[in-house]
Structure formats: structure tokens, C-alpha cells
């Protein structure tokens, strides 16, 4: 996992397998970075995620709630068809933005 902050945007580059074990670490790292301040938008880069279960949905939902409190938003890009299927099941696609590329995500087209 790599975190990059530019302006008010926090890009979180995930890698490996997004299960409950990894979700706990993502939560800590991301919320820590957000608490330091000045984050208006969290963008998750899923390009390197080879596996995800419903823990990933919970993680996105949790960050959405956090950013809602702070008046910000959450977006994702690099979603494979399989991850898209998982996200679709939960209805989370209605509240966070799915982008086709990093450029689009950072540009803020939503």
C-alpha cells in the first residue's frame, strides 16, 4: 500500500489481496493520513488488487462515511470486471464514484 497526497487529494494505491486482514491495515493508514488534515477526496487505486472479498466493500463504505462527516468524497479506479461485480452487489456504486482512469479520478469528473 502506498499513500500519496497532492493538494487535497489522497491517492491510496492498494496491492495484493483485499481481505479482512488487509482491510484493518488500510483503515488505520488511510484514516491516519486523513486525520493529519486537508484531505477533500480519497481516491483508491485498485489496479494492483488481485483479490477482494466483502471486506473491501466495508472499507470503502467506512471511508465514505468518514469523508461525508468531513465534507469530502471517495472515488476509485482500476476496478476489474470481477471487483465491479462485487461492488455492484452492495449498492456502494451509488455513493462512491467509479472512474475509468487515474486522470479522470484526479480530474474529478464524477
Amino acid at each position: 500500500m502506498k499513500l500519496e497526497k497532492t493538494g487535497g487529494i489522497l491517492i491510496v494505491r492498494l496491492d495484493g489481496e483485499l481481505d479482512h486482514h488487509y482491510a484493518t491495515k488500510i483503515r488505520e493508514a488511510v484514516d491516519g493520513a486523513v486525520m493529519v488534515g486537508d484531505v477533500r477526496k480519497i481516491i483508491f487505486d485498485f489496479t494492483g488488487v488481485g483479490f477482494m472479498d466483502s471486506s473491501g466493500i466495508g472499507t470503502l463504505m467506512g471511508r465514505y462515511k468518514l469523508m461525508q462527516t468531513l465534507g469530502g468524497s471517495v472515488g476509485v479506479f482500476g476496478i476489474s470486471p470481477r471487483l465491479d461485480k462485487l461492488l455492484s452487489m452492495s449498492g456502494i456504486k451509488k455513493i462512491i464514484s467509479i472512474y475509468n482512469s487515474e486522470k479522470e479520478a484526479v480530474g474529478g469528473v464524477s
Binding site: H20, H21, A23, F51, D53, S54, L86, M89
Partner: protein, 143 residues
């Protein structure tokens, strides 16, 4: 004659064992001629059931989780068992988006994911005794 094989794995309720359980089941399932999609379905369903045993079954207790796999011809049956708290109302627990642990950022989608990716999911549970989830998937024959 039917081809059959089976295996069992037992491990303590550490979240670092979620990945181990997935890979072990995948390595065993690989003797079936699986598509990438079918393999992912199985890994995801196992991950959900094992995570539930860790997060809900044992919560702050210590205990062991058992995963059994059986292959009979082109069907794989996977059973995940814990001797933890058990589920009071299984029907309610299986509803999409229902979770008893929102503060742990569970999404309530675990059972729904298992049902989506496997052909059959049955749950038997008793309070104070534990929970057993049995899942079956028929693998489509490849030419």
C-alpha cells in the same frame, strides 16, 4: 467410477490465516479443471466464511477453525466450522446488508457473496456451540 478426494485444514483464529485458508483450498481445488472465474468464486466464498468465523464466531475468544473440502466428480463441497458464539437468527443473518458488527466495518454482504458465487450454501448454528457453513459448487465440464 467416481473420482473423489478430500482434505481438512485446521488453524487458529488469526486474521493472517485468512490468506492461508484461501490458498490451501485453491491448491486443492486446482485438481478440478477450473476457469479463473470459478477459482475466484471459490476463493472469495472461503474468505467470507473464514472471516466470519474469525470476526463473529470467536470475536475476542481464542479458538480453531476447520475447513474441509471434498471433491466428488465435478462437485466441490467446502465446510467451514467454528466452535464460537453461534448465530441466534440464521435467517436474519443471511439477509443482504445485515451485520451485527458495523463498527468493525463489516458490510453485511458475506453470506450474499457466498450465495452468489457458490451453487448451494447451508448454515447450521447453535448459540454457545458454534457455526458450520457448507457450500457446494458444481464445476462445468470443459471440453
Amino acid at each position: 467410477m467416481q473420482y473423489s478426494n478430500e482434505m481438512k485444514i485446521i488453524f487458529p483464529n488469526k486474521s493472517s490465516n485468512e490468506g492461508f485458508a484461501r490458498v490451501a483450498v485453491a491448491a486443492f481445488a486446482a485438481q478440478l479443471d477450473l476457469t479463473v472465474e470459478e477459482m475466484s468464486d471459490i476463493k472469495t466464498a472461503v474468505s467470507e466464511a473464514v472471516t466470519n468465523a474469525i470476526v463473529h464466531g470467536y470475536e475476542n475468544l481464542k479458538g480453531y477453525i476447520t475447513v474441509e473440502c471434498k471433491i466428488l466428480d465435478n462437485t466441490i463441497e467446502i465446510t467451514v466450522n467454528d466452535s464460537g458464539h453461534g448465530i441466534a437468527d440464521v435467517e436474519k443473518a443471511r439477509q443482504p446488508l445485515y451485520t451485527s458488527r458495523p463498527e468493525l466495518e463489516r458490510s453485511g454482504m458475506g453470506f450474499t457473496v457466498m450465495e452468489t458465487f457458490m451453487d448451494e450454501v447451508s448454515v447450521t448454528s447453535a448459540l454457545g456451540v458454534g457455526t458450520t457453513v457448507t457450500m457446494k459448487k458444481r464445476i462445468s465440464p470443459k471440453e
